[in-house]
Symmetry: C2
Amino acid sequence: MTDGVTDRRPVLGERTAAVVGTGLIGGSVLLRLRAAGLDVAGWDPDPATRRYAHEQGLAAPDTLEEAVAGRDVVFLCGPLPSLAETLSRAAAATEEHCVLTDVGSTKAEVAAAATAQGLGRRFVPGHPMAGADRAGLASATPALLDGAAWVLCPTGSGMAAFRRLAALVIDVFRARVVPMSAPEHDVAAALSSHVPHLLAGALAGAVQRSALREAVLALAAGSFADGTRVAGGPPERTANMLLANRGPALTGLDAVRAVLDDLADAVRAGDPATLTDLLDEGRTARAAVGGRVFTAHRREFPAAVDHAGELAYLRELGAAGGHLTECRVEAGAVVYTGRLPAPPG
Amino acid sequence: MTDGVTDRRPVLGERTAAVVGTGLIGGSVLLRLRAAGLDVAGWDPDPATRRYAHEQGLAAPDTLEEAVAGRDVVFLCGPLPSLAETLSRAAAATEEHCVLTDVGSTKAEVAAAATAQGLGRRFVPGHPMAGADRAGLASATPALLDGAAWVLCPTGSGMAAFRRLAALVIDVFRARVVPMSAPEHDVAAALSSHVPHLLAGALAGAVQRSALREAVLALAAGSFADGTRVAGGPPERTANMLLANRGPALTGLDAVRAVLDDLADAVRAGDPATLTDLLDEGRTARAAVGGRVFTAHRREFPAAVDHAGELAYLRELGAAGGHLTECRVEAGAVVYTGRLPAPPG
């Protein structure tokens, strides 16, 4: 089998890249790629951002097309509503071997747009998990995404592109690549990110409306400061994210509200045993954040034949909370190092 | 006017202290007081904790009574349900000039217990605002409470004790003393701390119950990690805190749920303008966390006469989101340096 996105190029062999949308995330991607020795250009629709990038010594041409022409890989990092259009423009301005990806916080919508545009082989939906309570190129740093969990969505037809991109982000960003289908990503991201944004917004909003606003802020220590941190991010960006993942976000919110109802009932009833049990359930999940033990394994698949086994392996790995720390193609085989969490005890 | 808790002792003049309940907070209070040069003893009902304290070179007698006898000030740092009893025992084992305070996260209940025990002149309800996702003396550090907002509840009859304690915590902990009535504290603390604990517990609990638990945890980045941090704390302690402030916690939760409903409606309706406006409301409150500008002022009151003006000043200061950074008694006057936030713009 030969893909337009070819296995012939060596994995880890990407030499040139472009970033479309050089805000906090895109700018950080660009700076890290440049630091890793890639020839990388950035483009942003905002002339002031292009000027600022130019002043910082970055290649920042005036058009998207100039920025992406001839590149091996293009990262689309603009706002979610812009992705379908920038994807189409970037695809038209690059060769067939160029891998396209994005860093948006929801995946099903952009994956569907890519399929509709006939770009399933070249486009790999992506989502690096990184905090973002700031915005703009001036806040970007090469280290922002270092070591991040980075979702990439493999498909049967896009497997070669997936491998090249996985190898690149592992090599350059030391990313933990979490392979997931786009719809499964969106359901998991609802609970891991979108619902937390709703809760933070509601908490901060309730304080803003409170007659005791000033006194509450005077007492704001750890729990309030932590619980509202993401409410400090740009409202437009958060709104885009929530609206692009409407269904899963509302379903996830309902799940949280159900637990909240249980907690409130126990408080109202003055029932310490039930309340403690409920809080202990949450503590179990919380303890697994950053505290899981992973076991490494190695898997190998033929590089050039049917990808069904490889795809099944990758999706199972992601669903089990695992990630890849290595991906390379050598002697007709693709070799993965995967890491799986120990089962919850 | 002469108080049992006397103005005759120089402010900043406390020389001996005791801490009852040497967990994370009590242990940290003890270590800081000792580092500041006070002669301080600690007592904990747990023999292993007393033994550990002894091994660390701390004065850790076997009984509460031995620990507090002859001390100038006693900090009650045990669990909320223990406070009424330890208050009574500490009061019985100390002289009339000894100031008693606590560090519990709700104030109306313990204030009522003190009044019922006839301790209104000696007991000053207190609450230092500090993160607490760990527990135990082994996690205590002298710096834990440094610079914290520290609520103290002044009353007309307890003014002399309030002044001595305010001076002590400002001097030793560089605390920002927030003067508030006990009930007002509890309403403000519900939104600044108790509701955030409920939201964190509900979010972590929903993930624990989710079929996609592993995948969600794999994606858990900033917003989930921050939004669930306090869900990692001891469930018993959080349950005690919520149950001791039942009414205000449930009222605060209702206020947050109202905003959450508005947010969910806007997401469901696919209404970016309303959603952005709602999120912007929250951002305004969030921006004020740690970002407020304060203006200092100086106020002076006669030390020994009617305290109504002083009390009114203190409570208005707290309600306006302000705090004290100085309190001293000299030449028959009490001198405060207060700091008020600039009005929200």
